[in-house]
């Protein structure tokens, strides 16, 4: 059988056309596919990767999908630092997921001002059981101009000073009770070839935690509050300059691990330094406990990990009970999502977030969920000591400050982080630091 010439020509042309068209159509679909939706009725939800927390989040979504066979939440995970950028560009491009995960505060405010997130105030009013379910204090960072734009979720995460008990025994020293103790411990550990502090300095917010505490312990919460309120030259407060100088003293004394400015927190390398015995102490969020428990072998279960609140600074004004960190994590609903997607998201908020199983899992990894009435579960947990300790900090702190980079506008936060890494590099002086930041106050 022979094929007619015309048909052969046609098929060849079709083939060529296909070959030429394919890359373009592939590129076009690639551009469009990251948006919300995806066909059937469902909502999209992006959250942070890194175990063990990722497993808990994924578990909650899975349980919700199972209980709601007609709807679907499609989840995607990102690394912390990458997520913070990705979510901003996605929202700006109108490609935000239905459920926007975040930390409230200044970032949430920019979303609100751009009309990108739903006002949940009336929904919260109708669903008072959802509102009453969580710590009342968690709503502060979810509220902008008196209206609620996010549902607090997950856990309260104060910043904690962790230490490796075995290394303290080995060197024969006690955990620090003051800033002077910290400075005295530095040469003791360095003499044994142990780094006093682990630090994932490339991530920048890790360094920032040091300033949060030093500002607070030396000058009290008023010092940074003045920055938030847009007071002129607030960074030049003498207490601020003292705090900045003290951090540089610690850097100069060799307080931080060699190479800290190239270590990222996203890879948990800073935490590995602590549980592998290369560093004696580390200032990190409460979530680090779960990571060390999961990755550190028997380090946590055998009692190797010690923890305490940041010690006071002699002569400082701040209350030693004060803490910093994340009062909760926050879920908002994109205003650009379709009505069906918003319905699914709200159903998830009401019957998918912080359900009993999820609460148990958080407690299982040593995190303190913001659900009220979990005392019994906390006491029965294998991490009971740590959870009681976190609970104590969170409930007794006279002031529980929000992480600076989340409290400030993105532009001011970027300037802050940038200057913080220069401060730790000793390439700007405290005065220059204050000058650079005074320039972006209120912006």
């Amino acid at each position: 059988m022979d094929i007619p010439v015309s048909r052969r020509a046609l098929s060849r042309r079709t083939l060529l056309g296909l070959a030429a068209g394919l890359p373009v159509s592939a590129a076009l679909t690639a551009c469009g596919s990251s948006g919300p939706g995806g066909g059937n009725v469902g909502a999209t939800y992006w959250y942070l990767s890194s175990q063990p927390q990722e497993g808990v989040r994924a578990g909650a979504v899975k349980a919700f999908n199972k209980a709601h066979p007609k709807t679907r939440i499609k989840d995607t995970t990102f690394q912390n630092d990458a997520y913070k950028t990705k979510i901003k560009s996605a929202i700006g491009a109108g490609q935000a997921p239905t459920i926007i995960y975040g930390w409230g505060g200044g970032t949430l405010r920019t979303y609100v001002e751009a009309g990108q997130v739903e006002d949940l105030t009336s929904w919260m009013g109708e669903h008072s059981e959802v509102k009453k379910r969580v710590f009342p204090s968690s709503f502060g960072a979810a509220t902008v101009n008196g209206r609620i734009y996010a549902l607090p979720c997950e856990c309260v995460q104060p910043i904690i000073l962790y230490y490796n008990k075995r290394l303290f025994e080995q060197v024969g020293v006690n955990p620090p009770e003051s800033w002077d103790d910290i400075m005295a411990l530095v040469p003791r550990f360095n003499a044994k070839g142990i780094a006093p502090f682990a630090l994932g300095g490339q991530s920048q917010w890790t360094n920032m935690m040091w300033l949060e505490f030093l500002f607070d312990r030396i000058g009290g919460p008023e010092v940074f509050q003045a920055v938030i309120e847009g007071e002129k030259n607030a960074w030049s407060n003498p207490a601020a300059l003292t705090a900045l100088a003290k951090v540089q003293e610690l850097v100069k004394a060799g307080g931080f691990i060699k190479g800290f400015s190239s270590i990222t927190a996203d890879s948990n390398a800073d935490q590995a330094l602590l549980y592998t015995g290369k560093a004696a102490m580390m200032l990190h969020g409460a979530w680090s406990y779960g990571i060390q428990q999961a990755d550190g072998g028997d380090f946590v279960s055998s009692g190797g990990l010690g923890y305490m609140n940041f010690p006071p600074v002699a002569g400082g004004k701040g209350d030693p009970s004060n803490s910093f960190g994340n009062p909760a994590q926050y879920l908002s609903i994109s205003s650009k999502a379709s009505a069906e997607e918003k319905e699914v998201a709200k159903e998830f908020f009401a019957n998918g977030v912080l359900q009993d199983a999820e609460v148990k899992q958080w407690i299982g990894i040593g995190s303190l969920p913001i659900r009220v009435g979990t005392e019994k579960l906390l006491a029965a947990s294998k991490s009971a000591d740590f959870l009681q300790f976190t609970y104590g900090i969170a409930s007794k702190a006279k002031t529980f400050g929000q992480s600076w980079d989340q409290a400030l506008s993105p532009m001011a936060a970027e300037t802050l982080l940038d200057n913080i890494s220069k401060l730790f590099q000793l390439s700007v002086s405290p005065k220059q630091f204050a000058g650079n930041l005074n320039a972006v106050i209120g912006k």
Partner: protein, 300 residues
Amino acid sequence: MSALTGRPPRRGPRGILPWLAAPALVVFVCFAVVPLVGVFVLSFTTWDGIGAIHAAGLSSWRTVLTDPGLPHALQVTFLVMIASWAVQTPLSILLGTFMAGRQRYRAALGVVYFIPLLLSSAAIAVAYKALLDPNFGLGAGLKIGALSKDWLGRPGLAFGVVVFVVSWQFIPFHSLIYQAGVQQIPKSLYEASQLDGAGRIRQFFSITLPQLKYTIITSSTLMVVGSLTFFDLIWVLTEGGPGDATRVLALDMYKRGWRGSQMGPASAIATILVLVGLALALLLRRLGGRDAGESQLEGA
């Protein structure tokens, strides 16, 4: 009418030629020209990337041009460009000349040299970051003191590492260009010089290198203009740090735009990047002389 204009009717194979360029043109306009114009327009606005865009005249340009960060970023960009050119060019020429030989072991080695080019920049950066980690990396693992330096944590060292990794990644590509260039050189030139008693080194400097002139210009243009847009590798390796020691212009743009939510100034930096790139490409073409298109193969 056609008799009046005197233009012959377009028919035959020539008529279809412009249409063959159309798909490429459409892609170029959509994905290069339109974004370029967009960036230029954005540089005269304020926009946080999320909310509404407001016209702002020259304020973004004023912010960028008066920021001490700009000369620093420009300086780092040019230093990376010069250093990576200076490292890559001689090594690529030598490797390319070596691989141009017909021996089988050279072909086998050529395949090995080619491997870095097959890896993505991000993967290379992640691998090097892990290898150079001062506490868990190669030096610490094998207990080699010389290797366990704070490679990415000191400004000078981090800069050196960036140049090294960039070179490691791109030398194979440029070697390939030079290999092709060397293989184009007529054998007769070498035979004649051999009769005149020239050794291998003399041959290299008197025949290979001059004959490679245009290959060098092509490869240098690619290196220089390409180095303006180094982003992924440096971003993963150092994020522009420590401090701002490796913050090239592209990183500065990204940090301002996406981290700091200032699309206006970021667009101004992007425009500067485009202008610098264009200027450099034109300059390099000039360096090639007016006869850049002319063949040297038969003339020497």
